[in-house]
Subunit: 401 residues, 2 copies
């Protein structure tokens, strides 16, 4: 176990490593076969793998320029937006979150942020790091943020940005956005939304709702490898960004600069796009387009309903019963049962990866995701039966037995 070796080395030698640790040989990669039904990543679609190994060209090659155009067009379809500023950020979902916030928020500015899960808390952290002053709307992890709370915060502060998580991966809750979007507009504020776990799996229409900035990630309902974060911003948001008093502290995430590389026809170098990941993203979006967004949303909704019914039939309780998310479900672990052991059994004995709880829900829930191509009746049956067996192994008696 190289992991163990290295950890011992740390303990013995403080912050540098012994030279011996640098001289061993390494075998071929041989990852286990896992069905990824956790909080993400999901499995990568075979067609996406295929796109992935296409010949690499230069980031400024005319061919790649076409691929970028097409990827941006396809992203607009999946976001349901006509926003010109629509492209993938070259980083993971957290990079997308940081890009969204660091462009919109200026130092000293108040920002309303829903903190009803790990990723809402993370947005609050990033707002603070950008010099903003978060106004947190706190809710139980599993509830949505009520529109009344948003209205009250907007009317009693100078905040002109509201940041919310659409599908809170850590709680299983889906945030209703329609009324909040209207209220936010009434106050001439921007609405910034995290759709990392929802994009292409849960119904959302950026332009129809009036969402101003939205980001997502490649590795959830899109079945792409992790490493890219789609983002879109409308003209209201870009106007605020272009009129900033201070420069965006990050060059890597500065939308006004990336725009010149990703969107303008006379592309100006900003960074070397992760070319093969862009190939992958384009193929994943093509698959979404072939299925159709409505059909895809419907499929996610149906399969998650079946899963929920099955979990309740086992006698388990759903954490976000009020606002269930079609792509992720957090189910409470029965008293006395170890989430880590159940996860471990599923991983080792069934080759199925689910996720344990994070933050306030650590040790309290197991999270089951049905994302993109993984949202099938077959997988619902499989995870229900495997989970039942794993729970029984820990002494749990299912209700229906």
């Amino acid at each position: 176990m190289p992991g163990r070796l290295l950890s011992e080395a740390h303990v013995r030698h403080g912050n540098t490593l012994p030279v011996t640790a640098l001289q061993r040989s390494y075998g071929e990669l041989n990852p286990p076969d896992r069905l990824l039904l956790g909080a993400g990543p999901s499995n990568v679609h075979p067609r996406v793998y295929k796109a992935f190994i296409s010949p690499i060209v230069e980031h400024l090659d005319p061919y790649f320029s076409e691929v970028m155009e097409e990827t941006a067009e396809l992203l607009r379809c999946v976001f349901r937006t006509r926003n010109r500023i629509t492209f993938p950020i070259s980083g993971t979902g957290t990079a997308g979150m940081e890009a969204a916030i660091c462009n919109v928020v200026e130092p000293g500015e108040e920002v309303i942020v829903g903190t009803n899960g790990f990723f809402g808390e993370r947005m609050k952290d990033i707002i603070e790091r950008c010099g903003g002053k978060p106004i947190p709307l706190t809710e139980r992890w599993g509830n949505a943020i009520p529109k009344e709370a948003v209205q009250k915060a907007l009317s009693s502060s100078k905040a002109r940005t509201v940041a919310l998580v659409h599908a809170e991966t850590t709680t299983g809750a889906l945030q209703p956005l329609s009324d909040i979007a209207k209220i936010t507009r009434q106050y001439d504020a921007l609405l910034l939304v995290d759709t990392v776990t929802s994009l292409s799996g849960c119904e959302i229409d950026i332009d129809a709702l009036g969402i101003d900035v939205c980001f997502s990630a490649s590795q959830k309902c899109l079945n792409c490898p992790p490493g890219m974060a789609p983002i879109t911003a409308n003209e209201r948001a870009m106007e605020k960004i272009r009129n900033r008093k201070t420069r965006v502290h990050s060059l890597y995430f500065d939308l006004s600069v990336i725009e010149k590389y990703w969107i303008e026809s006379n592309r100006v170098y900003h960074h070397t796009a992760p070319i093969l990941l862009v190939y992958a993203m384009r193929e994943a979006l093509r698959i979404v387009q072939e299925e159709g967004l409505e059909a895809r949303w419907q499929r996610h909704r149906c399969n998650m309903e079946t899963l929920t019914e099955g979990l309740e039939a086992l006698g388990l309780e759903i954490n976000a019963k009020e606002n269930p998310c079609p792509s992720i479900n957090a189910v409470l672990v029965p008293t006395g049962i170890s989430d880590a052991r159940v996860k471990s059994t599923l991983n080792n004995e069934y080759g199925i990866t689910v996720s344990v709880g994070l933050g306030a829900l650590r040790g309290k829930v197991l999270r089951i995701g049905l994302m993109g191509m993984n949202s099938t009746q077959r997988n619902v049956l499989l995870v229900l039966k495997s989970l039942e067996n794993a729970l029984k192994k820990e002494g749990f008696t299912p209700k229906h037995n």
Copy 2:
């Protein structure tokens, strides 16, 4: 041409796009076959492609944990360091640069930075965005920064960080570091070095030289796809980082937080690592290890010498004659000849990608890279003959004819 379609749409409709642009269908990817002998990316090694399509597992899977350990160990070998803090940042080379700078530099702090090329200028920009006060050491694009300039700047300022580019991709110059590293230590300052274009292709030994922070990129001499940026920081640097008065403005790039995910044995979620890119990086590093670093450096040096002799035999002038870099060469374009047309001929007629000039060298140079597996005698012969033909097409008469 979708590109054209979309650009026209922009002109006609301002900042949103017509709905029609969102409804066409997209064919299969079919990239042209290119030999990438420009400033990067280089071609991806076939074994790296193979690693790339290995089954994806979760970012917290015990198997992936081993892969992370091994990747960090292999990175230590290629950096020649025993630094505990050694891992790939989940972004491109610019992300590595930003991570290095935003962790080390605090607002208001003076930082000495070599500005003798595009990437030195970029470091200056990022230092400013982080609130630092750059003290630029300016040199002709093609020269190295003299040690005397560094000494003078250290003795006449409060700066305790020196930032330099090892292999300046835009000029073809290699920066000597040995004396500068000693001087920097004498002043108890940190030395931060960009090895994006040099790592594994040009001799560098982080620990022996006494470099404190160093970052690179996956897509140059490592023949990985773009999207990862190896970084290493020693205990002197980490001590400065841990004692910061202000928080790092970026959560995504905060080394003290990423450390808990990448290095500590009890991994705490920070972001979803780009798992397949990590597989790719591990395989690329294994290939480096099999060849041996010295042999690899030697191969890059020999092939670049042959290329340089060949270019001079054609009657062309090398931009960085004094400090030539073994992985990249900037050759001056003869008067009256269009760099863009030569590049285009090489790309379209020979399937060879070289790079045009950037910044101060725009329109003045062509850049030929021999990186990783692309550094071969065969490619040297091929690019010399193709370039000769492409130049002749533009009316240039080679010297040796």
